[in-house]
Symmetry: C2
Subunit: 305 residues, 2 copies
Amino acid sequence: MTSSEPALFCVDWGTSSFRAYLASLEGKILERNFSGGGILSLAKGEHEEALAGALAEWIAKYGPLPILMSGMIGARQGWVEVPYAQCPAGSKEVAAAIVTIESRRLGPIGLVPGVCAIDRDGSPDVMRGEETQIFGALAAMDRSEGAFVLPGTHSKWARVEEGRIQSFATYMTGEVFAALKDHTILGRLMEGASESSDGFAEGVRAASRLERPGDILHAIFMTRTLGLFDRLEPGQLPDYLSGLLIGAELQSGARGASGAIVIGSPELTARYCAAGGILGLALEPAPEDCAPLGQLALLACRRKA
Amino acid sequence: MTSSEPALFCVDWGTSSFRAYLASLEGKILERNFSGGGILSLAKGEHEEALAGALAEWIAKYGPLPILMSGMIGARQGWVEVPYAQCPAGSKEVAAAIVTIESRRLGPIGLVPGVCAIDRDGSPDVMRGEETQIFGALAAMDRSEGAFVLPGTHSKWARVEEGRIQSFATYMTGEVFAALKDHTILGRLMEGASESSDGFAEGVRAASRLERPGDILHAIFMTRTLGLFDRLEPGQLPDYLSGLLIGAELQSGARGASGAIVIGSPELTARYCAAGGILGLALEPAPEDCAPLGQLALLACRRKA
């Protein structure tokens, strides 16, 4: 077996998504399979069968291979709860905390732990899966420090120094957006996305004018009044709210840094980079496949240890 | 007829509540009837019958009397749309903009307009009903200036000078709380209210430590992690989120003022006053029945004009 042959199934298994990668030992991603469901769609005891089903074709073709998984699959509501590694945590600390379970059908499966941190106020914060993506971005970009943002339902902002995640904070931006749009009066005047991106830019600029933390509880109401007074079209209103929330997140998450590396879907990454441009923050997209690249980096660490 | 006899039906008809008051000309509230539904429960064309039904007993007893109404009943989605009066607006300006409709069943009905304003950022804001409550509080407290907060689904903060509402801002605090509790992950660990008020105070204190507008998108996530790490009991989590949002609202709404007069339900007023105490803001409850007292003040203005 050469180092470019299939050697590992890398699985990034989150709340609402399942992403499997066929990787070689030298760190090449050979094939991708995003066909499974997130852990929210499964009950306790159903994970092994779901994973076997999702990997069946690869196993038939390449035989059983070691499996490494990261993400919410290691949470209390996942397959097996894997205790968090504590910040500051680099790939060494996280690799050392990988838990291996034996599946009768699938053989040994490594579960990457999440990471926990105590924030500026002494409150705990947690991530599962994003730490692995950050290690992947560090490896792919040959870096050992920087600010990272992983936008999404729960965006994560992390500071990395000397290859270790020093601290991070969760922002509920995506979930707040959805709750406000679908479950408050703000959704009433909204229509599907318009072609114009004016609404988004307007929202980001509104965020840049906020002064106090509570100001945003007022500013979001403008999503309604700007529609009522015909200052924005119904199709621009969702973008306005999105720009307002993302703009506020960026200014809080960056906390004086001049920029950050964005690890996310192409669509969300573009949205964050556009907001950064308006706010004078240099946001730079990370390479693709950060999750399996991070898992491979953890594996390399484990082999060295 | 003496001035203490029943002379007027005052109706404060909002989105989710209907409150009718039997008033004398000298400004006494003689009876109350809160039995009807809010305008959200009615379709176009159903308001006259609903009002006739709610007032039937009083009309049978005291005969038909003039009716004055304020609140969302004068909105586009209400009975008849009454154009907003523009800030700065005192009882004189608002009284002059009352629209009177003729009901075949009920006789003349006065509809108090809402008030609109342009906020610090040039964005429009609107209220309907709260302006009348503020005029009622001014009359009952014999004041002509101050900061006023009307907590609720959409809290309003208003500045009054020389008897006129100079400016105001809406905060979606109550609706944001409900959307986060019922439609995000934050509700998952929550249980019904606990006896202890520690969670609320903890939330208010967390709000006082926020620095940037976007910080609140992070701080609300602590409602989950403080539960996950057993730092707060499940029964304290709703109070924590409530304290966080109300605390943030207070610091933004007060904007450097040393206090404000609170016009609201006894329960919400107590909650806001408690948060004010923690933040060093002197919040003082307004007298009861501000809505009909405000309508009587508007009527007195109209008679003088």
